[in-house]
Amino acid sequence: MTAITQIRRNDQPIYLDYQATTPMDPRVLEVMMPYFTHKFGNPGSRSHAYGWEAEEAVEKARGQIAKLIGADEKEVIYTSGATESNNLAIRGVAEFYKDRKNHIITTVTEHKCVLDTCRHLEQQGFEVTYLPVQQNGLLDLDVLRAAITDKTVLVSVMAVNNEIGVIQPLAEIGKICRERKVFFHTDAAQAAGKIPLDVEAMNIDLMSISGHKIYGPKGIGALYVRRKPRVRLVAMIYGGGQERGFRSGTLPTPLCVGLGEACEIAMKEMGVEAKRLAKLQERMLKGLRAKLTDIVVNGDLEQRIPGNLNISFAYVEGESLMMGIKNLSVSSGSACTSASLEPSYVLRALGVEEEMAHTSLRIGLGRFTTEHEVDTAVDELVRHVTKLREMSPLWEMAQEGIDLKSIEWAAH
């Protein structure tokens, strides 16, 4: 294993947003490089050595991806990323089976690309059930069981949530779906390479994977499509019939090779990396709790990937905190960072009150995060939360023992 070293320049902020994207592992870039230059062939060219060389490379990478999730390489198709994979899986299945079944089940905390695809299908006449989640962010299996009807064709539940990092009970969901003869799709963009996944043991029929969340390149992803029992899809992109007709278009050889290598590295190092990140996660939380009161971790802390913390710093608005911690790159559940001015729908789905949702930060730790960076982040957070609390009228009232809920606020 290569040493975990700092890859950012010293004038760059500390990167703590690994759920948004990850830097490419230098080892990944290295294997990609020749396919940008002298190994430039089209993997679809069957008539000469350039094509054969490229084909061999994309097929090797396909095998590396398949191995990470316990699949057969014939069951993996390349896409442009998890958004396309999710679109293809959900729309593809819905449209293929629409004469027999027209009901889809998903959860309210899915990524926008799943929710938006489902909304689109609703407009086309499909029925979609959006299941609530429990306060810890996890799906209640009894609620899922009760939602399945004889019209249900697909259950789509994300493996790991992008905001709060919680891990859904995939094996249990897969078992229920298999028993009820319903396809199970999981958006594993945040899970692949972070937690062990096995499409056989977990009865997963379709799985979306993203390259840039696992230290691979942006612009590439994969969709696992089960062959036995066979899952059929209607293609979204028409053309030369590449990828078994599921996804036409010339394969981007360097990106495919990069995704494959990223999967192979993740598979080899997942165990060690998860332990290291769990220590960093604990270090950060302990550091914050030692110096700050009134902080709440959103989402289950146990059923969670170690590279995520989503914390509400009560009485301090998230965007103002982000403006202060200039040396840290994190993201906020406060919507003041977006145009919508609505706080995170994921946090609200957990029943986090709006005022607490406005105070939340998502902190993502990853392969290149160091102990020193965590300590620096803790110091900066403590300093700015303390400063902002001193100027917060809510903090002042709370210290005076005033119940903020007893006040009639004029909503605006």
């Binding site: 009485y315 301090v316 608005e317 965007e319 103002s320 403006m323 202060g324 406060s334 919507a335 003041c336 960072t337 145009a339 001015l341 706080p343 009150e353 709006e354 005022e355 406005h358 001193e390 100027m391 917060s392 009228p393 809510l394 903090w395 002042e396 903020l404 606020w409 004029a410 909503a411 605006h412």
Partner: protein, 135 residues
């Protein structure tokens, strides 16, 4: 989001943070906004015997633009009569700080906060000296 230098300066070096005695007769307190909306401003003014605002303090829960807007208005109201202070418009605040369009509501809230503080001061004054209430 790129903010103006003036806005960042008010965020990083906020003027007049703190609290005045909200029970004092010469202090008017305005508390506007709601935690669920992501911003709450408390703005206080202390009016001298000459009718001029001699001190102003604020505390704000909100984004950087909200903090900067409230910091700015505490500077602006000092030395003004309450009638003059009442004429401060949210558009002046937004223009001075070059607030982006999605942050205009922060300047509206700051204007509301001054008005609420003035109204509170007047209500107290009215109780004390009914004659001056017509002012």
């Amino acid at each position: 989001m790129a903010y103006s230098e003036k806005l960042i300066d008010h965020y990083e070096n906020p003027r007049n943070i703190g609290s005045l005695d909200k029970n004092a007769e010469d202090v008017g307190t305005g508390l506007v906004g709601a935690p669920a909306c992501g911003d709450v401003m408390k703005l206080q003014i202390k009016v001298g015997p000459d009718g001029l605002i001699e001190d102003a303090k604020f505390k704000t829960f909100g984004c950087g633009s909200a903090i900067a807007s409230s910091s700015l208005v505490t500077e602006w109201v000092k030395g003004k009569t309450i009638d003059e202070a009442e004429t401060i418009k949210n558009t002046d605040i937004a223009r001075h700080l070059a607030l982006p369009p999605v942050k205009i509501h922060c300047s509206v809230l700051a204007e509301d906060a001054i008005k609420a503080a003035i109204a509170d001061y007047r209500a107290k004054a009215q109780k004390e000296e009914p004659k001056e209430a017509a002012e």
